[in-house]
């Protein structure tokens, strides 16, 4: 056996153990949190799914998008329309939201990824603006400025996820599944194609990878994640307003992942939780929030450009190095 070829079993591996531990610990949160804080947690976990879309796009595939909050909105509005206008069931509506947003993102990706790197990024800023304009003005579908209200909670058969705690378990379950799928993606040939494009698009082409198609697939997976987040948000809040799905929110997702680190989903989780809780605790300092973010981001880029997780990894590397050094001295 060659050194390092054994990739570790998916189910018994370190990733799965960490993920399970975090999830189990999370399941105790309803016991200690007030219903208000549980709502904050629910919103944070939904943000986490959107931040995972940034993880796939930016962390794995090296493409930066400012439109993810728009796809989040698309998922939410699809869900609301399926439920209220088409009278479909909650599970079907959620599946349509995920698939629909993914398909939509794939088609847009196919058009937008003809632009390379920062030209693409700029185009997504325009896309986000269009999304928000549509959400605000397309009354038939989004309810315009009034929004959509009266969205029923998620339900399986006759069980309704109507109180905050049951909603929390629904959302944390989805977060668990999605995070698990991220690992499968990472180890798959598609994941490697994403990373090849991130590290060198020209060389990726020389290894038989179609850059346009592959990047569109990453965009579609990001769309699916945002679609799921949107559906959950619709069920959680029961009311949709265009003021939620904004450019600022997209930027927030990027800040969250930059803070946590792009190397794996745990980074996305750390970043999302820190920012979400920070937003709550410094609410009295609301007026200074922008300043705190601004200075914080600059400091982060100077001190730890790889994010918190990158910092931990570097420390761990140094620790290991020292250990081997000591061993070789002994």
């Amino acid at each position: 056996m060659m050194k390092g070829t054994r990739k570790g079993n998916l189910i018994t591996g370190r990733y799965m153990i960490t993920l399970t531990c975090i999830t189990i610990a999370g399941c105790f949160l309803p016991l200690v949190l007030s219903s208000y804080m549980l709502r904050v947690m629910n919103i944070a976990l939904i943000s986490y799914m959107c931040v995972l879309s940034v993880y796939v796009l930016l962390g794995m595939c090296g493409q930066n998008s400012f439109a993810q909050a728009g796809f989040w909105g698309v998922g939410a509005y699809i869900t609301a329309n399926c439920l209220l206008k088409l009278n479909l069931g909650p599970i079907v509506s959620m599946i349509i939201a995920i698939a629909g947003t993914a398909l939509f993102a794939f088609v847009l990706g196919f058009a937008f990824f003809r632009l390379k790197q920062y030209y693409f990024t700029f185009a997504t800023i325009g896309l986000m603006t269009i999304f928000n304009g549509l959400f605000m003005n397309w009354k038939e579908v989004t309810g315009g400025a009034l929004g959509i209200s009266g969205i029923p909670p998620f339900a399986i058969f006759s069980f309704e996820f109507s109180n905050e705690t049951s909603k929390f378990f629904l959302i944390i379950f989805c977060a668990f599944v999605v995070t698990f799928l991220m690992k499968i993606l990472f180890n798959s040939s598609l994941g490697r194609q994403f990373m090849a494009i991130r590290d060198n698009e020209l060389a990726a082409g020389c290894m038989g990878i179609n850059p346009l198609l592959t990047k569109s697939k990453a965009f579609a997976i990001g769309g699916a994640l945002c679609g799921l987040g949107g559906a959950l948000y619709a069920y959680l809040s029961g009311y949709l307003s265009f003021q939620v799905f904004t450019y600022n929110q997209s930027t927030m997702y990027l800040i969250m992942i930059m803070l946590g680190g792009t190397i794996n989903p745990i980074g996305a989780l750390i970043g999302t939780m820190i920012i979400s809780l920070l937003q709550e605790f410094v609410r009295p300092l609301q007026n200074y929030m922008q300043l705190i973010y601004g200075v914080g981001i600059m400091l982060l880029m100077i001190v730890q450009p790889e994010g918190i997780l990158g910092g931990i990894k570097a420390l761990y590397g140094k620790y290991n190095e020292r250990k081997t050094l000591r061993r070789s001295e002994a």
Partner: protein, 254 residues
């Protein structure tokens, strides 16, 4: 597929009157090359002669202004890079272009992925082991990041990856540049394995002892022009070549 190509005695790769201009600079001028299966074919010439440009044209990174390119008899002149790669052209770069943020195993896996995709077959571990041994990488921990390899090891890894993708032809751009003599031997060992598998190699190289030692035939370029094509002996004894290349900048480089 490999066998049918040999049976029909087709050339793996054929360039027909290929030309390329870069705003006045003639980087390739009416190039005609035919490469046979399992052949190591050298492409030499002074700096700026147009060697890398020809590789880029074969790979579809640049479009040729004129001329056609055939792979196993199929015209690939208009195909995008990724399709050419899937049809069986692999290449390495003058400066290695690996997945820099991934571990070594992931990089190796990229080559195997391509084989799985195009030939619907897996690469067995003994084949990987043989290649890693030839490249003297067998003791390296494959879970290390690529950045922890030396420059030479990265170049060797790139060739290993290319062979693992089971192409018809490998385009190898200056593999020996920046390598020590031991590492050059590893390159030769890797080429020998490739040739045994029936893979042709198009080799660009400035190290003359290496080129003259392993190439079956060589094309000499100067200012984008094809001065001659022949065996190493013929090339070394050609007056025009000596004047244009071996007597010129090559001495300064070696």
């Amino acid at each position: 597929m490999e066998n049918t190509m040999k049976e029909r005695h087709l050339d793996v790769l054929k360039l027909e009157h290929v030309s390329k201009n870069f705003g006045g600079v003639v980087a390739a001028d009416d190039i005609c090359i035919e490469i046979n299966p399992g052949e190591i074919f050298g492409l030499i010439g002074p700096n700026g002669a147009g060697k890398t440009t020809i590789l880029n044209i074969i790979m579809g990174i640049y479009d040729a202004d004129k001329g056609n390119i055939y792979l196993g008899g199929t015209d690939i002149t208009k195909l995008p890079t990724y399709k050419r790669a899937r049809m069986g052209i692999a290449r390495t770069f003058q400066h290695p272009r690996l997945l820099t943020r991934c571990d070594i195993l992931t990089n190796i896996q990229m080559g195997i992925d391509l084989t799985k995709r195009t030939q619907k077959q897996n690469v067995d571990e003994s084949e990987l082991r043989e290649l890693l041994e030839a490249a003297n990488l067998q003791d390296v921990d494959l879970s290390l990041s690529v950045g922890q390899l030396s420059y030479g090891q990265q170049k060797l890894l790139e060739i290993v990856r290319a062979v693992l993708s089971h192409p018809y032809i490998m385009l190898v751009d200056e593999p020996a540049a920046g390598l020590n003599h031991r590492e050059m031997d590893y390159i030769v060992a890797l080429f020998n394995i490739a040739v045994k598998k029936g893979i042709a190699v198009l080799l660009i190289e400035h190290a003359m002892d290496l080129v003259m030692g392993i190439c079956d035939r060589i094309t000499v370029l100067n200012f984008g022009k094809q001065i001659m094509t022949g065996t190493p002996d013929e090339v070394q004894n050609n007056d025009e070549v000596i004047a244009a290349y071996l007597g010129g900048s090559a001495n300064a480089e070696d």
